[in-house]
């Protein structure tokens, strides 16, 4: 299937989702749905680096927060519409990704993961001490009541995040089927052999960190408008780092559909648990699921299904 056909199908699915959400006529659907969609974008973005090239990024929150704080900055400096802020957030986080990649990609495995964790801490410290964007106090972002054509503002935010999810998934799938995808896979499998086959590994890793960072920044940019009051602790929350790793792992890291399934499953479960049991429980759910999947299905749900199919064929 060509990329643009796939894109159109995604748009159609998105339109159906939006129409259904409108039918229910309950704002809670939009509030909860926004979070689920946001995690689809984050999980897909994480998977471009973590799943395709095999570099585990523990600093997702930093990229997300960079996007969110870019919005806060412009909200005070020169208010811009959210789609523009998303582009700006993508640029800022993409550049951070490029810089992080350049500094750390000679590290492998756990060392790379620790370096990304350190990046998040450094960035959080900077934000906490930057008064203009609210510092440790946080910043209020008053969102308008409604938007022309769409109506209620949360509907608008939901629609934006839906569009981002469509974009992220289309990009991820396009990469998988392209030359870039082969290059990423060789980096994951064996960098030395990749170089010997002519793959410019450093360059491709920089492409991956930049792209992954930019998509996370896009997911973060509308966040201040969603939450209304942004403080460092919520933008840099552990949830983002843990979820964006756990969701692709649970869904399966080998293809675009894994993070999608993982994010829908886990984020929906979390939303349900937050409302019906307690908000503290939601991270516990992720933890337990992750442990269970690492033991039972190390290749995630997608891997589990593929194994079943292969076994079915063998019989």
């Amino acid at each position: 299937m060509r990329t643009w056909v796939f894109f159109l199908i995604c748009v159609a699915v998105g339109a159906v989702v939006f129409a259904l959400a409108r039918l229910i006529q309950n704002d809670y659907v939009f509030y909860a749905g926004y979070v689920v969609l946001q995690f689809i974008v984050l999980a897909t973005a994480w998977n471009i680096l973590g799943g395709y090239t095999g570099y585990v990024n523990f600093g997702s929150a930093a990229f997300f927060a960079a996007g969110a704080y870019t919005s806060v900055f412009f909200h005070k400096f020169y208010p811009l519409p959210i789609p523009v802020l998303i582009v700006l957030g993508a640029i800022v986080s993409g550049l951070i990704g490029l810089g992080m990649g350049y500094l750390t990609l000679r590290l492998r495995g756990a060392f790379f993961a620790i370096a990304t964790l350190a990046l998040a801490v450094v960035l959080q410290t900077l934000i906490v001490n930057w008064n203009y964007v609210g510092g440790a106090r946080g910043a209020y972002v008053i969102r308008p009541e409604s938007v022309p054509l769409i109506g209620n503002y949360i509907n608008y935010l939901f629609l934006i995040m839906l569009a981002l999810a469509v974009i992220a998934i289309t990009i991820a799938r396009a990469i998988e089927r392209s030359q870039l995808g082969y290059g990423f896979a060789t980096i994951r499998d064996d960098e030395l052999a990749a170089e010997a086959s002519g793959v410019p590994t450093l360059k491709l890793k920089l492409v991956a960190t930049t792209l992954s960072g930019a998509l996370m920044g896009m997911a973060g940019a509308p966040f201040p408008y969603y939450i209304g009051y942004l403080q460092p602790a919520s933008a840099f929350a552990l949830d983002y780092a843990v979820n964006s790793i756990a969701m692709p792992m649970i869904g399966g890291t080998s293809s675009w559909i894994g993070p999608l399934i993982g994010a829908i499953l886990v984020a929906t479960l979390q939303q349900w648990a937050t409302v019906s049991i307690s908000s503290e429980l939601s991270l516990l759910i992720v933890g337990l699921l992750l442990v269970a999947f690492v033991i039972i299905a190390p290749n995630g749900i997608v891997g589990l299904v593929q194994d079943r199919l292969r076994r079915g064929k063998a019989k």
Partner: protein, 245 residues
């Protein structure tokens, strides 16, 4: 005389205080079949790594195809026509056999100046390579489904896919049975007949003697012999290195 295809001059490499290679001079003419032998730890693989850019040598230089390649990273050297296979096969395990071969076609052959291959060309090229190494039935298998000798063939095919001028085959036959060794030697000779210069790094003397037109011997990081295979193996110094006194 024309400049050799590969010319290593005064190359040294140390790991901390250990001198792995000392002042190596080594040349390979175009179209030649050279055997590189030496006891374990004599620096054969280190030399290959320095030539390919996986390791950087402290002194000396490597010239390839009339160009100094010092300072170029591995993939840049591969694109210039310097391919290698690894001592232990290092396939891309999450890609199928055919996909393994697509990687050098996409990233090396298509990165060279001139018209690039279309998707259909690449499929044809993959099929040709698989036939060449007799893996045609395994195109859609994953490396984990291959036997040891098939894995070695895949390793060679992947190096060949980059359309190299020079192939450095690092112990392509270690651990194979006699008939499998003959199989691979036959394959390498066929590749050479297609115009590819080959340096074979090997322990199995029968294979080396059958393959090589010239033999180079490394012992403890120094080159101690270089010449016709029959003469080299009768060299007293070589005998001493291999058999002791």
């Amino acid at each position: 005389m024309a400049e050799p295809l590969l010319h290593v001059a005064g190359l040294s490499k140390r790991f901390g205080g250990f001198v792995a290679l000392e002042n190596i001079d080594f040349a390979v003419a175009e179209g030649e079949r050279v055997g590189l032998i030496g006891p374990n730890g004599s620096g054969k693989s280190t030399l290959v790594n320095c030539i390919c850019g996986t390791l950087t040598n402290e002194t000396g230089s490597v010239r390839f195809n009339g160009e100094t390649v010092d300072g170029l990273i591995t993939h840049e050297r591969t694109r210039r026509g310097l391919a290698r296979s690894f001592q232990l096969p290092r396939p891309f395990v999450t890609l199928t056999v055919a996909q393994n071969l697509r990687v050098p076609l996409l990233y090396t052959v298509n990165a060279r100046p001139g018209p690039s291959l279309s998707a259909a060309d690449i499929d044809v090229r993959c099929a040709e390579l698989l036939r060449l190494v007799a893996l045609d039935g395994k195109a859609d298998k994953y490396p984990r489904d291959l036997t040891q000798v098939e894995m070695r063939k895949l390793e060679l095919a992947r190096a060949m896919a980059a359309e190299p001028k020079l192939l450095l085959a690092d112990e392509a036959m270690a651990g194979l049975s006699q008939s499998e060794v003959d199989d691979i030697v036959g394959l390498l000779i066929r590749l050479n007949e297609r115009g590819i210069t080959i340096v074979l790094i090997e322990h199995i003397m029968r294979a080396v003697m059958k393959f090589s037109q010239r033999l180079v011997v490394l012992v403890s990081g120094r080159k101690i012999a270089d010449g016709k295979p029959d003469a080299v193996i009768r060299d007293p110094e070589v005998e001493k290195a291999y058999l002791g006194q």
